[in-house]
Amino acid sequence: MSNTSTTSLKELFLNGIIKENTIFKLALSLCPSIAVTNNLKNGVFMGLAVLFVQFMVNITISLIRKVIHPKVRLPIFMLVISGWVTVTSMVMAAFVPDVYAKVGLYIQLIVAFASILARAEMFASKSSVLPSMADGLGMGVGFLFALTVISFFRELVGKGSLWGMQIVDTKPLLIMILPAGGFFAVGILMAAFNWIDSRYRKGAASSR
């Protein structure tokens, strides 16, 4: 686990995107990710919603971490997460109904995200506000990045379109937008991500 006193905020932010990427490295929250990444638009909106909730939950947990009794921390984390999800969805439904009509479905799914609970437990409950913000932002951006890549790949290969616009006139591999194809896509991209990451590390180590 990263030590907050020695690592800079920038490193914390990058940690969530590369070293501890929720999907490609930690393999958390795969189920909801596979469910929504069969087109690019869904992937991006889901990623943005998670980014926001992760950021706010990390801040809240970090602020109240000293008054939480360790034995009941999980029910309180769940309260904070579901509270933020509910508030976000109600405020959006009231003020931006057009946007809510498109993303409301995803926002409510976030309650069940293991990755958000994991960050609250592993990081925010042990760190002060600023590092928690950096961590939440990094984890959220990393998640958004992963969902964007996966949904880009799946929509293009599965439906031949991007953001609902037809690119090629056929559906090359329909299985890619079905749940089973989601596992294939995540597996292939996870392998690619780790391959690039390890090559980059080898390169960095040998040039030193």
């Binding site: 069969n38 029910p75 109600m90 479905l105 329909l174 937008i177």
Partner: protein, 197 residues
Amino acid sequence: MTGRDILKITVTLVVFYVIGGFILAFVYAKASPMIYRNNEEAEKRALKGLMPQAEDISKLGDWSIHDKHAKYFIAKKGGETVGYIIQSFGKGYSSYINTFIAVDKDFKVQKINILSHGETPGLGDEIEADSFRNQFRDKDLEHLKVLKTETKEYIQAISGATISSRAVTEDAVKNGVAFLIKTVKEGGGGDVKHEHN
């Protein structure tokens, strides 16, 4: 664990949940009237969009399908009836699909609109796409049938979402149109309770 610990834990939990409850109640109290208004406006816009040629759309009555409450409307232009709009529900793959159907005075479907649903994102939610919904234009009761093959005469299923396509076509739309024919045409209008099997 001592009695003091148990007390402390209980108090922390209660305090947090009461605060959380108050925050939620406060946000809900502020947001719910706005959400209600938004929904009402969305319904009005949806009705107008379904039958742009109508000057006046007014509620005709209530009916129920899948134990859900739904409404139907009459659309008039210059005192003449130009068609009807009916709300209906279809039992889909993972949700009830809330549908509005506009028919002309001969009970041929003009347009359908999916108001809300909880079908699988990326597959079932294609029932909202124009390419699917436009197939319903000028279909009468006999032609509201889903085929998996290419068809112009009937409704072509969305690949990967046959259950959702069926739910809209053979459940929501078909039952809605059948109800309208039964009550408005043969029953002369009025609040007849629809028995759905």
